[in-house]
Amino acid sequence: MPTSSEPAIRADGLGKDYLLGELTDIRRAVRAKVLRDRAQEPRPDFHALDAVSFEISHGEAVGVLGANGSGKSTLMQIIAGISTPSSGRMEILGRVLPLLEVGAGFHPELTGRENVVLYGTVLGLKPSEIARYMPEIREFAELDEAHMDTPLKRYSMGMQARLSFAVAVRFPADIYVFDEVMAVVDDHFRGVAAKEIARLHELGRTVLFISHDLDLVRAICDRGIWLDRGRLHMDGPIDEVADAYHRAQLRGLDAAEAAASEL
């Protein structure tokens, strides 16, 4: 039986490259396959993640900071088991419950209840477990029984978001991942959701939290990881990392330029 004293996530030199340009190009395909022309220009690629290493213990709440395109979401996709890295290695102990987009994986024609069953099953939960958590999920989503039996397409945006959050915080897991999901809910529910994420942390669960709202990140997390253009730029207590990140933002410079100007 593994103990939770082992790290929840350990990343060693993790890298992820994406090809740029149109993926399917008949001229390239013909040249490569038919004419066997190996000398054609290599496709430009983009290092979304570049030699990223860190260790996260069970029970930590980690805020991942960085500008758009810094690799935050790519890292979360790899942690969630959705995407594979191009290099390096990662070890994960425990069940990961990702909320990478509000309403992701929900089907508009299915009822709220059917969607919860679908999501739970995809996460690897047994039908009996899903049934056990259904009342809690319904309650957290602030939905009545009649709405749970209504197709999702007739929900308001807020109701869909609440159900999506309810599933992401109430199903049992060890590592909870939230990728920029606070922007689409109203102020009232944002408070409820933030409190709930803090509660997961108090319960000793591991939380990975991405948000551009630095105050929220400080409130929820105790550690910060700053990614800059795919590289790990800073890793430390959330206040230090958030302060440094905030200063860099204020200067209107990104981290690399800031470093260069200090030379």
Binding site: P2, S4, S5, G15, L23, T24, E55, S57, H58, G59, E60, Q77, I78, A80, G81, I82, S83, T84, P85, S87, G88, R89, M90, E91, I92, L93, G94, R95, V96, P98, L100, E101, A104, G105, F106, H107, E109, L110, E114, V117, L118, Y119, T121, V122, L123, G124, K126, P151, P172, A173, D174, H201, E202, L203, G204, R205, D222, R223, D235, I238
Partner: protein, 283 residues
Amino acid sequence: MAASDTAVSPPLASDERRVVLPVKRRVRIGDLWRSRFVALVLASRDLKVKYKQSLIGPPWLVLQPLGILAGLIVAFHGVANVDTGGIPYTAFALTGLTVWTAVQTTLLNGVNAFVMNAQLIRRVATPRIAFITSTVLSNLIAPAVILLGAIVVMLLTGTPISPRAVLLPLIAVWIILMTFGLLAVFASASVRFRDVSTLLPFWSQAGLFLTPVGFSLATAPGRTHDVLVFNPLTGLIEITRWSLLGTPTEVAPLIVSAVFTVFILWFGWRTFTRLETTFADFV
């Protein structure tokens, strides 16, 4: 490094340990079974969604093949007057249509299985093989209804059902295996090349005339006969008729079908497992 301020961590909800490496393949055969709950939920989702906001609903399962059957009757029975060896034409055509529907509708419905479920692929770690299995499962009902129709026609017309019909479940497994392999190839390839889903409807329209659905292999003239033998669906239709209607069959198309099934299962699994790791990036 900031240590957690929580004194004691709770027991793990799952002791699943995952090692993530830059691998070319990560799916194992066992994942077919491990993902069974997901496949069942996806299959039931597809069935539920199919007839939502539909006036007629599931009776379409009967009405749709009736339309094709009418076409077959006019073309092959009325115009070409094909020889069925004494079997009522309707029963003869419906057995062919059972196999055709099993393969063709599954492929048409499933070729975009990954593309249409992009959200579940890009945002949730859904076991991807489940999209193939669920498509195969949810598309079993349509051919089953047609097969039932063939049996009803035989009973109504007093056509004897061959005792070899007990082998039908085995033949169904054979049909499912070939369909699974074909779907794995087409659905995986269409993530990278959308041409596949453009090509497939055209291929299936042409295929109806190159497959002995509305006529029998035995009555096809020389050159045409030799071409039909190499159609992997011919063997499946021949053995289904052999089993239910008691008609004789040639051995050559059965060998072609068997060899093709083994090949397509290997090739389909290989294509799927190789492309699967990149689905989230390319879909």
